[in-house]
């Protein structure tokens, strides 16, 4: 979108997510992070990517890069079924409330996370939560792995028209992360 020269005439804010279509730079961002966190929402249970639940991709990503999982809503059971450890103390807004604080010790008690990856949320609640972090958490970066573009994230996937494109990206990301281990 072109921006007007005089910024009082803009339609919306200026700060919008970088659109990430390639798994390599995404993997680079994740690998560079010291204390990443994966936050999983309930749509990851119901959304299927060509027959495979989205949550399975998310858990594979967490395993590949040793990322702690915050399982919000009622996702904990499925994460554990996939043989990953899930922290379910916090729901989506509660974890965001903690992430705002740079002094928070994080899920592993090692310090606040510097990269937070989200997947499996309604786009409306997800974008609202990301808005909080965009405005009030300059100390961290955010990434979304859902099928749709989230303007309030730091890094977002594009709006994928076809699931196969989304699947390819997620599989590519998992591969990149595994290779880095």
């Amino acid at each position: 979108m072109a921006l007007p020269y005089h910024k009082v005439n803009v339609l919306t804010g200026f700060k919008a997510a970088a659109e990430m279509k390639d798994p390599k730079p995404l993997a680079k961002v994740i690998k560079k992070a010291s204390r990443p966190l994966l936050v999983i929402g309930p749509r990851a249970l119901t959304v299927q990517i060509e027959g495979k639940p989205f949550i399975e991709y998310l858990v594979e990503i967490a395993k590949a890069a040793d990322i702690p999982i915050c399982a919000t809503a009622h996702t904990k059971g499925k994460v554990e079924e996939l043989e990953a450890t899930a922290e379910s103390t916090y729901d989506i807004m509660e974890i965001i409330n903690h992430l705002k604080d740079p002094e928070w010790k994080g899920l592993r008690g090692q310090g606040c996370h510097d990269l937070v990856i989200f997947g499996g949320f309604r786009t409306d609640i997800g974008n609202q939560g990301l808005s909080t972090l965009k405005h009030f958490a300059p100390h961290l970066r955010t990434m979304t792995l859902c099928k749709f573009y989230y303007p309030n994230a730091t890094f977002s996937l594009p709006n994928f028209k076809k699931d196969e494109e989304w699947k390819a990206l997620l599989e590519g990301l998992i591969q990149e992360l595994k290779e880095a281990q």
Binding site: V8, A73, H74, K76, D101, I125, H135
Partner: protein, 766 residues
């Protein structure tokens, strides 16, 4: 400004010389009078902002981008801007109820005079707990209710003025103003509903109000049909009166959408509830209504346009929604009816008696002419209509509930209607899908072919909780042996199936919580039947007691829910209500295990209703759409300070116990909501027996819906005596692993004494 003149004026209005209770510290308070209470509350439950918009567009300096640390041209930052927008929303919500109250009181005073007495029957002596508490007045007449609304209106001026140029500038002070105006929202709702109860002789002092028909399928479309829409029953009750007078009550169907439906069934058990706000467009598009009488608040702005599409006519009856129509109160009735019938014209008629007569006469004449316009779309027709879809996904991109509409329509074109039915059950009824469709797919009409046309049941709203009921349940609620009072309130902007509220109601009623309902949530609770064909209103008793499912009434009846909390403090604990807000709110926060649930909150009214509950110390759980309200009140259980005053020993105690954990929180799934509700019913005052019961529900729900023991369980176990027997071994092992240590158990926890206030600590002890 507090001065002797103002004090004299207040004393005159509230008749301070009356000795029913001593006048407390804050009669008819201004914002600063309760500011310290708010700041104490928000010290624990800090405002959490999720900006819905990065910009401020409210003045000609802007637009200003407030992202991150940016400030606007006036100096405002993003947090203060959110507080400002929340304050504006609460002012809008409160003014809607204040406007409703002012209108209905004026209408009834015109009918019966200012001195018409307030009598809520032999089971309700504390007639207006909100007005008693906030103003310090014991209202006796309609004229007294008018004074309460006038006071609230003056406060509205002050609060709304603070939003000009963002002059307040501080987010917490904005929140204090939002809390103040929302407290007054409850005053206005109470004034409105008490006026309605006495003026229209709605049910009061009884629990077993009539069971009425619910659902669009309940409407007999072979008869002339009048649909009433909105919130204000002044006109709809006149319609019933006219039908009764003319002996037509069995010959004309009167049905309603949104709260006017609830109000009308409080007046006549022959009236029917079509459904919540989310079914407004759907029902109007069926063409079943011959005449639509619109009043105020939650009415579609394009009602006349939509009505014209199916040949229905609209009578606008409120000065809040004139809709550009000709006002015809002074014109002869037959002439107006003629134009409505022959030309399908819509009119504004502010004289309610006249509007009622016109509505009935027009419906009687229109019905025989409109039979073809009431034909519903068949599955075959829907299949044909679906073929217009070009799979562009425009419909999906504009859907506020993120529904997979394109796929559903594509499947319907092949004769598979499951997806369309799935979407209808989740549709919030905005109609944006049709607006976005460039190929004319008639989504809302296609829903006619998949909607269930069965009749459900709803109990008519019963108004205030009776004093006798409070006497019975006060002790078990405060001790915790009744695990909580859960209020399902608000609109129908639900994230998933329309009957999710019914599922949650059933779960908690079965667990012997007291479940109360109002508004659209009260309707949808009845839209689910069990295997025996019974709804929750037929399965559970209507009493305000353990396991009861109580339809309190419409939106304005929410004041009776906050009022019930106040009455527990007053009737059970014997604390004076009169102008004693801090003491009562402190009691409710620390000792009354109540939790509000607005699963589909949509409007500004819902924002102010919820915020009013928050100031009183009642936590509220919101559905995911409510993240767009921009603000929640959240704590951080591990990091925050949970120190309170031990009222008996008069010393500060670090309880280490986050109860209630939040004051306002958005959650995404009903499973998480149910677990959160159970958790938010815990209070520091719980006896070990009461805490055992509450923890039993919390653990059981968590195990079933999320999996395993709650990971924060150790925060809520104070001593071994709190542990439910059934889970004892498992919980003890968990506590050992967590390094749990015993916490103090207080029988009189209070915030009083922990912040600057005129209220002495002795005031909390009775």
């Amino acid at each position: 400004m507090e001065g002797s003149k103002r004090r004299e004026e207040i004393e005159k209005i509230i008749r301070a010389e009356e000795d029913w209770e001593p006048v407390g510290p804050t009669p008819m308070p201004h914002v600063p009078d309760l500011r310290n209470w708010d700041r104490r509350l928000l010290k624990t439950y800090k405002p959490f902002y999720a900006p819905f918009c990065d910009l401020c567009c409210l003045c000609t300096y802007g637009k200003c981008d407030l992202t991150g640390t940016n400030r606007g041209a006036c100096g405002i930052d993003i947090a203060s801007q959110q507080g400002r927008m929340v304050t504006i929303a609460c002012c809008m919500g409160m003014s809607a109820h204040a406007g409703h109250a002012a209108h209905i009181i004026e209408y009834l005073i015109e009918k019966y005079g200012e001195d018409y007495p307030i009598d809520l029957g032999d089971q309700v002596n504390v007639e207006c707990p909100n007005i008693r508490l906030v103003l310090g007045m014991k209202p006796k007449t309609l004229g007294d209710l008018k004074k309460a609304v006038e006071y609230a209106a003056t406060e509205l001026i002050h609060v709304l003025s603070s939003t000009h140029t963002g002059q307040e500038g501080d987010p917490v002070d904005y929140e204090s103003k939002a809390l103040h105006i929302s407290m007054l929202d409850h005053v206005c709702m109470e004034a409105a509903d008490v006026a309605q109860i006495v003026g229209f002789k709605f049910p009061t002092s009884k629990a077993d109000t009539p069971i009425v028909d619910l659902g669009w399928g309940a409407v007999d479309k072979s008869k002339p049909v009048i649909l009433v829409v909105g919130h204000n029953p002044a006109c709809s009750t006149e319609v019933i009166d006219y039908l009764r007078k003319e002996g037509l009550e069995d010959k004309v169907e009167v049905c309603g959408i949104c709260c006017t439906a609830l109000e009308t069934t409080r007046y006549s058990d022959k009236a029917k509830i079509v459904g919540p706000l989310s079914r407004q467009l759907f029902f109007v598009r069926t063409g079943i209504a011959d005449v639509i009488v619109a009043d105020e608040q939650c009415i579609r702005t394009d009602l006349t346009i939509e009505a014209s599409k199916v040949g229905s006519v609209v009578i606008a009856s409120s000065d809040k929604a004139c809709r550009g129509l000709e006002e015809v109160s002074e014109r002869p009735t037959d002439e107006v009816v003629r134009e409505m019938v022959d030309q399908r014209k819509h009119f504004l008629i502010l004289d309610h008696r006249k509007a009622a007569e016109v509505a009935v006469k027009a419906a009687l004449e229109l019905a025989p002419k409109r039979k073809a316009e009431k034909e519903l779309m068949t599955p075959e027709q829907a299949k044909e209509a679906a073929k217009a879809c070009k799979a562009c996904r425009n419909c999906e991109q504009v859907c506020p509930n993120l529904l997979p509409l394109m796929e559903a329509v594509q499947k319907a074109a092949e004769g598979d209607f499951e997806g369309l039915k799935w979407c209808f059950e989740r549709c919030i009824g905005c109609g944006k899908c049709e607006e976005a469709c460039t190929h004319g797919v008639p989504f809302q009409r296609m829903f006619q072919s998949v909607a269930s046309w069965e009749t459900w049941k709803c109990r008519a709203g019963r108004g205030p909780v009776m004093d006798t009921e409070i006497r019975k349940v006060g002790a078990p609620i405060v001790l915790g042996t009744i695990p909580g009072v859960i209020a399902f309130v608000g609109c129908s902007n639900f994230p998933e199936e329309i009957d999710e509220v019914a599922e949650m109601v059933e779960e908690f009623a079965r667990r012997k919580y007291i479940v109360v309902l109002t508004g659209c949530s009260a309707m949808v609770a009845g839209m689910r039947k069990d295997k025996d064909g019974l709804t929750v209103y037929e399965k559970f008793p209507p009493d305000f007691d353990a396991g009861g499912v109580v339809n309190i009434g419409s939106c304005v009846s929410n004041a009776h829910i906050s009022g019930a909390g106040m009455k527990i403090a007053n009737i059970f604990a014997n604390l004076p209500l009169r102008a004693n807000y801090e003491v009562i709110a402190d009691y409710v926060l620390n000792r009354v295990g109540a939790c509000g649930v607005a699963w589909g909150a949509m409007s500004q009214k819902a924002a102010s209703i919820g915020t009013g509950f928050n100031r009183l110390g009642v936590p509220v759980v919101l559905g995911p759409h409510s993240s767009k309200y921009r603000r929640q009140y959240l704590s951080r259980k591990e990091e925050d300070d949970w120190t309170v005053m031990d009222g008996r020993k008069k010393e500060l105690v670090d309880t280490q116990e986050p109860t209630p954990e939040h004051l306002c929180i958005v959650v995404e799934s009903k499973e998480r909501a149910m677990v959160t509700i159970a958790k938010l019913c815990m209070r520091k005052n719980d006896t070990p027996q009461g805490r055992q019961i509450k923890l039993n529900h919390y653990i059981d729900l968590h195990k079933r819906l999320i999996g395993g023991l709650p990971p924060d369980l150790h925060h809520f176990v104070r001593t071994e005596r709190d542990i439910p027997m059934f889970f004892k071994r498992e919980v003890l092992a968990f506590l050992k692993e967590k390094g749990w240590q015993r916490k103090p158990v207080l029988s009189l926890p209070t915030f009083i004494g922990t912040y600057p206030t005129k209220v002495p600590i002795e005031a909390v002890i009775r």
